[in-house]
């Protein structure tokens, strides 16, 4: 046992450049796919949250995505996108949608109706209500969804090696192909450990994001344009002459 750990560490040491390369590839696949999913799922969530039919349809479709076996999903896009990173990105994007969409909708649902009512009653436009009130309050829930999506895609991205997508799956497949031969388990373990470490790093970063970007900070950022314009704005209501 001690022997195999030693030989694994040796392998890690010898192949560190290549492993680092694979880790970066892996991380980029996850980051790109998840970022795209954040943009799409959050926008979609905002649009469908108040529309029951659209909301059910969107949640059902993204749930279906998540149930498609990953092996199939990665290969289904080859006719369209060829092999390489692209089919991997698309598949990861599709997997990441549901957790983010669901949490966006749930987060927006959780905003107290009285808060929305008072925001509207004070004359905040729909855009202002969204960016200064609803999104900041839903933000912690949305980030929780992003964390789940990131963990999910970090694991699944390893399958991308089957369509030549690169990433740590390459190391695992390399070991798998040589099973039975000496040193076949070392790359498999290297791939597994690095995927787990990568997932932990992502999770840590996102946890930090939640801490630093609290709802009040987000709302403050959303309010920045108002602060910049302070003292310079004149509203149309006041300009209009009263006909009394």
């Amino acid at each position: 046992m001690l022997n195999s750990i030693e030989s694994w560490l040796e392998f890690m040491q010898d192949d560190r450049d290549e492993l680092w390369q694979l880790t970066i590839e892996h991380a980029l696949l996850v980051v790109e796919a998840t970022l795209a999913a954040v943009v799409v799922a959050v926008l979609l969530g905002i649009v469908v949250q108040t529309r029951p039919t659209a909301r059910n349809i969107a949640l059902s479709i993204t749930s279906v995505f998540l149930t498609i076996p990953s092996l199939a999903l990665f290969t289904l896009f080859i006719p369209l996108l060829g092999i390489g990173r692209n089919p991997v990105l698309v598949a990861l994007f599709m997997y990441a949608l549901l957790p983010i969409l669901r949490n966006t909708v749930t987060g927006l649902d959780s905003v107290d109706p009285a808060v929305e009512e008072s925001a509207k009653g004070m004359g905040m436009t729909a855009t202002r209500r969204l960016f200064q009130v609803k999104l900041p309050l839903a933000w912690p829930v949305i980030v929780a969804g992003i964390r789940v999506a990131t963990l999910l895609t970090t694991g699944i991205a390893a399958i991308g090696t089957l369509v030549s997508g690169g990433g740590l799956g390459d190391a695992i497949k390399d070991g798998f192909n040589r099973l039975g031969l000496p040193n076949s388990y070392e790359p498999i373990w290297a791939g597994v450990v690095l995927v787990v470490v990568l997932a932990l790093v992502f999770d840590l970063l996102l946890a930090l994001t939640t801490k630093l970007l609290s709802p009040s900070v987000i709302a403050g950022i959303a309010e920045a344009p108002d602060r910049l314009l302070a003292g310079r704005k004149q509203t149309s209501f006041e300009q209009e002459p009263s006909n009394v």
Partner: protein, 432 residues
């Protein structure tokens, strides 16, 4: 006022005219700050309108309370004014200007809005919450900050303590104070309040109401206040609109006149028992003619006192001290039974009322006095006279007669006075 031939009320099955639909309750004065003209709201998919052809004036600088049973449409009516609910018919005027079609967000920035659930932004500090509207209106930083501190002071919360706190650190009463401060943020001329104190415990509610009235006394905002609690309506309103189903006005008037003369059974039932008693809050001792009462100075001696008592034909004598302050009630038995000075016999005067006391307080004093009358003393405590129960019943009858005359002038017939006063002399017929 309304011309009975055109806007007059219908005749009901009992031969009485039915107030309500078709009654013109509009205030004649030109200074209506808010005016609803035939405003209706019918929700899609329903045939019954929630608000039907409502015409309502809110005079500038006054508190108008909309009150009625649940489901009468009073909240809907309030929300039609700032167009949280878009009317399906009619027009809304704001300071003489038709705002039925202006940008509702822009309109709402000039109308303060307070709701029962308060709805403070949980992720913003108290100062940020209060500054929402000023910031939207583009006020500069210093002006906004000064305004926030001013408002926190006004609602009785120390700015240095509360400015940077978050709403979850506040009690219910404090939170609603902030709710009011926030609504006043950019000094809007109009405030809409939807059961603002409804979810607050009775003791705090009473304090908030009093503080609110004090602030309103200074600010003189035009306020529309919704409640289902008639007592709150009487306390807060300069005028009250009692609404029946579909937000039809059953009676629109000052609390004093509504209490003096509930115009029909609906209003009568809604006010419930004790209308006359509540009405006593609107009349003051200084409006009454005080009765004389036999008095003696504390050093008058028993013999002289007996003579005064005999001459007056009363049962009790009021003893005054050397500064004419009432100190004791003495009757004949007290004097016969003992030789002690007048200041040591009889009963202590426990309660006196000042001339600006309400008749309600006066009645209270009357009930706690052994002689059945309330002593009136000026602000130095000097004896002025007494109020007897007959004077109160006369006052009630007079208020009712005044209200009756007012409604007759408006062209509205009213039901006969409710039978709370058996004295036929006090009936409204006397006023005709």
């Amino acid at each position: 006022m309304s011309d009975p031939s055109t806007a007059g009320p219908e005749i009901g099955p009992d031969g009485r005219e039915v107030p309500g639909e078709g009654t013109d309750w509009s205030v004649d004065e030109a200074e209506a700050m808010i005016r609803l003209e035939g405003v209706s709201k019918t929700y899609p998919g329903t045939s019954e309108p929630a608000v039907e052809e409502l015409t309502l004036d809110v005079p500038e600088g006054e508190v108008l309370v909309l009150v009625g049973p649940s489901g009468c449409g009073k909240s809907t009516t309030l929300r039609l004014i700032n167009r949280m609910i878009e009317p399906t018919g009619g027009r809304i005027f704001f300071d003489g200007r038709d705002v039925t079609k202006v940008d509702p967000d822009e309109l709402r920035r000039h109308i303060g809005y307070v709701i029962q659930q308060i709805g403070l932004f949980p992720h913003r500090t108290i100062a940020d919450n209060v500054a929402v509207v000023p910031r939207m209106l583009g006020w500069d930083k210093d002006k906004t900050k000064a305004r926030v501190d001013e408002l926190l002071d006004m609602v009785g919360l120390d700015p240095s303590v509360f400015r940077d706190r978050y709403p979850k650190e506040l009690s219910g009463g404090q939170a609603q104070r902030i709710g009011v401060a926030r609504a006043l943020g950019a000094d809007p001329p109009v405030l809409l309040m939807d059961e603002p104190f409804g979810a607050i415990d009775p003791i705090t509610r009473d304090r908030l109401q009093n503080e609110f009235l004090r602030v309103q006394d200074e600010l003189r905002k035009t306020i529309v206040f919704v409640t289902h609690d008639i007592d709150e309506a009487i306390k807060m309103g300069d005028r009250i609109a009692i609404l029946r189903q579909r937000s039809v006005i059953a009676q629109y008037d000052t609390p004093r006149r509504i209490l003096a003369l509930p115009i029909d059974d609906f209003v009568q039932d809604f006010i419930g028992s004790g209308a006359a008693l509540k009405g006593l809050n609107f009349e003051r001792v200084s409006d009454l003619k005080l009765s004389d009462f036999p008095t003696v100075r504390y050093d008058a001696g028993h013999r002289r006192s007996s003579e005064v008592l005999t001459a007056s034909g009363q049962d009790w004598l009021l003893v005054l001290d050397n500064q004419e302050r009432p100190v004791r009630w003495v009757n004949r038995d007290d004097m016969d039974r003992s030789d002690k000075p007048l200041t040591d016999v009889g009963q202590t005067v426990r309660v006196t009322v000042e001339p600006n006391a309400t008749l309600h307080d006066t009645l209270e004093a009357m009930l706690s006095s052994s002689t059945g009358c309330a002593i009136v003393a000026d602000d130095h405590g000097r004896y002025q006279g007494v109020v007897e129960i007959e004077v109160l019943t006369e006052a009630i009858a007079r208020m009712r007669a005044e209200a009756q005359a007012h409604y007759e002038q408006m062209g509205l017939a009213t039901q006969q006075a409710p039978s709370i006063d058996p004295d036929p002399m006090a009936s409204v017929d006397g006023a005709r």
